[in-house]
Symmetry: C2
Subunit: 353 residues, 2 copies
């Protein structure tokens, strides 16, 4: 019997409501596939914790989590009491960087039974993966303000791209594309406007492409690429993007499949030197928190990605099939036009695993 130590961090808002459903699905998979989980519930990375301690996490967070096989994460953020950049840089973005989770993998799929906001698209028409660089690029706190508080105020914000960081995400994306049926990779860029980093990024993609002659590649500027996510979603297979562009594309993509309440993500350290982290793409959604109506699918599907990463493809597939069935037949939460609660939808999925 395989046994895994999983840190369970619900975080804030609807993270707290969808997490129990994620755990329920994992437990169902454990029973069926003879796995064992030691779940360690952890209350950091929530704005409540911040209110009590003034920090998002204790100083020794890294030591405490280092022995875990994975981190299962809800959502973080409660802007009414803690500004987003404080809560996020103090938890989620810290995990991504300090545990070197340099791949953010975000599948985008249109399911049967989910009303698609795009006209005339059916289940199967949209099925691609966004591979997002997850540690560097545009997300930095480098730079500063000159002449602060005066009319002459000037702000510099620096983005940082390394060859190390860029080549490894490109390599991952090329490998993934090569393993898929269509073997097609789209590289997001904006080299016509952002004149230093993006032409350089294009060059790294060109260099990497030489090693993958089986993969067809096209580079697209982020503006027209966003437009094509809406107009021609069927043309995408694997899309690789910088941290910011990947962030945008991995909300936009799921939106075209009906709701961001479905979209899962895997923050991976592929070499397993550090624990990887699995979380919904959606945030803590303070506006709907407390009503038990949040869609639990993104949380549950993220758990499936965790099992896949841990080597249990069969358990992953069983969870995804249960999700497919419940999306097609109900019960469904209100964001999908249904009237089920978070719990009801989660129970229905667990029952099918």
């Amino acid at each position: 019997q395989a046994r895994y130590k999983i840190a369970v961090i619900p975080g804030d808002g609807i993270g707290r409501e969808v997490m129990p459903e994620g755990l329920r699905a994992l437990q169902a998979a454990a029973r069926r596939f003879d796995l064992a989980f030691d779940f360690t519930p952890i209350e950091w990375a929530s704005c409540d914790y911040h209110a009590r301690t003034g920090e998002m996490m204790p100083a020794d967070w890294k030591a405490q989590l280092q022995g875990m096989d994975a981190i299962y994460f809800g959502a973080v953020g409660w802007p009414a009491t803690v500004p987003d950049h404080v809560s996020l840089w103090g938890s989620l973005l810290k995990f991504r960087r300090e545990f070197d989770q340099y791949i953010n993998l975000r599948p985008v799929r249109l399911f049967e039974g989910v009303p698609c906001p795009l006209a005339g698209r059916r289940a199967g028409d949209i099925d691609y993966c966004v591979v997002r660089e997850n540690t560097e690029g545009e997300y930095t706190n480098l730079g500063g303000v000159m002449f602060a508080g005066t009319e002459r105020e000037i702000v510099i914000q620096e983005s940082v791209f390394s060859r190390h960081g860029t080549d490894r995400v490109l390599k991952y994306a090329f490998e993934l594309a090569r393993s898929r049926a269509r073997k097609h990779l789209t590289v997001a860029t904006k080299s016509n406007g952002i004149a230093i980093s993006m032409p350089w990024w294009d060059g790294r993609a060109d260099a990497m492409a030489m090693a993958y002659p089986e993969v067809t590649v096209d580079k697209q500027h982020i503006d027209i690429l966003s437009a094509r996510f809406v107009l021609q979603p069927g043309r995408f297979d694997v899309v690789v993007a910088s941290n910011l562009f990947g962030d945008i594309l991995s909300d936009l993509g799921p939106a075209t499949t009906g709701t961001i309440g479905l979209a899962p993500s895997a923050n991976l350290n592929p070499e397993r030197r550090f624990p990887s982290l699995f979380e919904p793409v959606h945030g803590s959604a303070p506006d709907i928190y407390g009503r038990n109506i949040a869609n639990p699918v993104a949380m549950i599907w993220s758990g499936a990605l965790m099992l896949d990463f841990l080597g249990h493809r069969d358990a992953h597939d069983a969870i995804v099939r249960a999700i497919e069935t419940v999306l097609a037949q109900g019960p469904r939460t209100p964001d999908l036009g249904g009237s089920a609660s978070t719990t009801e939808m989660g129970e229905a999925i667990a029952a099918l695993i």
Copy 2:
């Protein structure tokens, strides 16, 4: 009789095919509203010109254009012979900066007769304006590469925001929102990830909002904002964004209305110290150039924005009404499911003005 000197720069690719239709519409409007145009055709800003001279424009381009009332611009770019960042920084982006066209105004509207890629939306459901900062922000050539050509390569890309540049675009957007029926402004941000410039940008928006109590404001992160352009397009009225975010939103928005072949843009220097520039949002589209099938509406509508800026609201409205009629009744170009040529569609619009 009002008389205007207009620099006409077709540029590259389909810019050369849609420009004649733009001029045809302007001439029709001139006859009807008793205006006179001195059109000065200019061959710079094309990659042909670059092939002949090694530059996109002559050294005295500014002096030559300074006396113009406006610049009517097709599209620039021919990546097969000139890299995009060379052609664009040598022409379009130079105009925007050196003529201080700090507002890029991009209306987004769903028209009758245009198949909408979003399910269940009708003409009127999507009707908003993107106000994009057009001179600074993320579009810079500041930064550089360290350890170039080695494994340790590190690239810094700097964004630059000034209070001067930020406050003026915010002010323009608040004024525009206040002048509209719904008086709602959405501020695009990413202050949870981009930790220096974006929290500062939010602060400038908050400060400006104090002066506009009649305008309701919401700030949205660019990732979820992109998702809502697809899921809830009806909630937008005026959207203000940095250079990069405005670029993305103003391709995505038009995509949700059917085709970026419709979307016009006005690059404005509102104080009229320098000529303003009017151009389609679409680019030079080398893939369809030479077949006379490009949709001329974006070019023609951009001409209408030019007339509006020159003070002729009636002429603007007449052109837009002609566009509405032809979109509803045809003839239509292939991107709209029709089989008309660029010329046929342009002639039909001109005939109705």
